[in-house]
């Protein structure tokens, strides 16, 4: 290449490097034209919205607030959820749930022959040894026979009859439970679930 040609190329390059002078209202005219253009609505699919990562900025104090709210709502939610499940599940499922949470019971008849008694009650580990418990008061059936049929939880139990609020009497038809602790006779019973 000859030097003269290089000089020409340099001159053209300098010209091209220079800033292009525009009129004062050029920017304004361009922006007016841009604003006048119809808006293009970019359709974003639902799946895209779900899968597009987003950046969430949370300050430290708001994290604490969020955590506390979650704990409170979780606590309330557990209570309400179990209640809702009970309500929604229906009576059968509720009964099933109840069976799971407390032991099943069976109706058991207790019979004692005590001709001279005026009152007979059954006490045991199923009623807190409470001789005044209404469900465990025996009725006189005649001939000195007292009986009561009461709900007893499935499992192994100790019990006794209390005659006239003072005399403890073991069930003669049941195996004896040891009476080492209080010197009073107790009987043992095993209540089995319905098969």
């Amino acid at each position: 290449m000859r030097d003269g040609d290089n000089e020409s190329i340099e001159q053209v390059a300098d010209e091209l490097r220079g800033t292009v002078p525009v009129s004062a209202g050029f920017d304004a005219r361009v922006m007016r034209a841009v604003r006048a253009m119809p808006r293009h609505v970019r359709r974003v699919s639902f799946w895209s919205r779900l899968t597009t990562p987003r950046t969430l900025v949370v300050t430290p104090w708001s994290w604490g607030l969020v955590a506390a709210s979650v704990l409170v709502l979780a606590g309330l939610g557990v209570v309400q959820l179990s209640e809702a499940l009970h309500a929604a599940a229906g009576p059968a499922a509720t009964a099933l749930f109840s069976k799971a949470s407390k032991p099943a019971t069976q109706r058991v008849q207790f019979v004692l022959v005590a001709p001279d008694a005026k009152k007979v009650a059954v006490v045991g580990d199923f009623n807190g040894w409470d001789a005044s418990h209404a469900a465990y008061q025996a009725k006189h059936r005649g001939g000195g026979v007292w009986s009561v049929t009461a709900p007893i939880p499935v499992g192994h139990h100790r019990y006794s009859f209390v005659v006239d609020d003072s005399l403890w009497v073991a069930d003669p038809t049941a195996p004896r439970a040891p009476d080492n602790d209080f010197g009073l006779p107790n009987s043992a019973i095993v209540v089995e679930a319905d098969k």
Binding site: D125, G128, H156, P175, A177, P178, N180, D181, A188, E192
Partner: protein
């Protein structure tokens, strides 16, 4: 909230104890119950024992002594049966110890049972003892039945059969050993079944 709940658990007063025991007795019983709870022992039997004492008209020291003895028996039972013993097993074991079943007997039954629950075998043992079968006879019989892998359902039937036999006038030891040996014979003739 969690701390509050824990505090409530530790010092919880059973309202039945409060209403039926005098203050010093109630405090002593509650302390024993709290210790048992901390040792992961079932506490309902302890409360029940105190209520039984109250219903029987016993004085405070006797009630506290009975509750303490029961707690000690349950602790021994748990020690022998291991940390995986269930509340039912511990209760059943403590109940059998009332009849004189020793820790050694419990250990023997525990070995015989392997991985199955001891609740039913112990219940059968206690029932036999309660019907007057001698300790050694009852313990040996239940040990044999347990080692043979007799299922809980079959043990329950065995228990019922013995009861019926005794009600019909049979000697308790004779009824128990006859029914027990019959069950063992029947089981030995059947194809091998896994224990429950």
């Amino acid at each position: 909230m969690v701390v509050g709940l824990a505090a409530r658990e530790a010092g919880a007063q059973d309202p039945r104890l409060v209403s039926r025991l005098d203050k010093p007795t109630e405090a002593a019983v509650t302390a024993i119950v709290d210790s048992a709870r901390a040792a992961k022992l079932p506490t309902a039997p302890l409360v029940d024992k105190a209520l039984e004492g109250a219903a029987a008209g016993s004085d405070g020291p006797r009630i506290v002594g009975a509750v303490r003895n029961l707690a000690a028996r349950m602790a021994t039972a748990k020690h022998v049966l291991g940390s995986r013993a269930t509340a039912d097993e511990i209760k059943a074991a403590a109940g059998s110890m009332d009849f004189g079943v020793t820790a050694r007997d419990l250990a023997r039954l525990h070995t015989a049972a392997g991985t199955r629950s001891l609740t039913m075998p112990l219940a059968v043992l206690t029932d036999l003892l309660g019907r007057g079968v001698a300790l050694a006879t009852a313990t040996n019989l239940v040990d044999q039945l347990t080692r043979a892998g007799i299922k809980d359902s079959e043990l329950s039937l065995f228990q019922r059969d013995v009861r019926v036999d005794i009600e019909h006038g049979a000697d308790p030891a004779v009824a128990a050993t006859t029914r027990g040996h019959g069950l063992l014979l029947k089981h030995s003739r059947s194809p091998a079944r896994p224990a429950e």
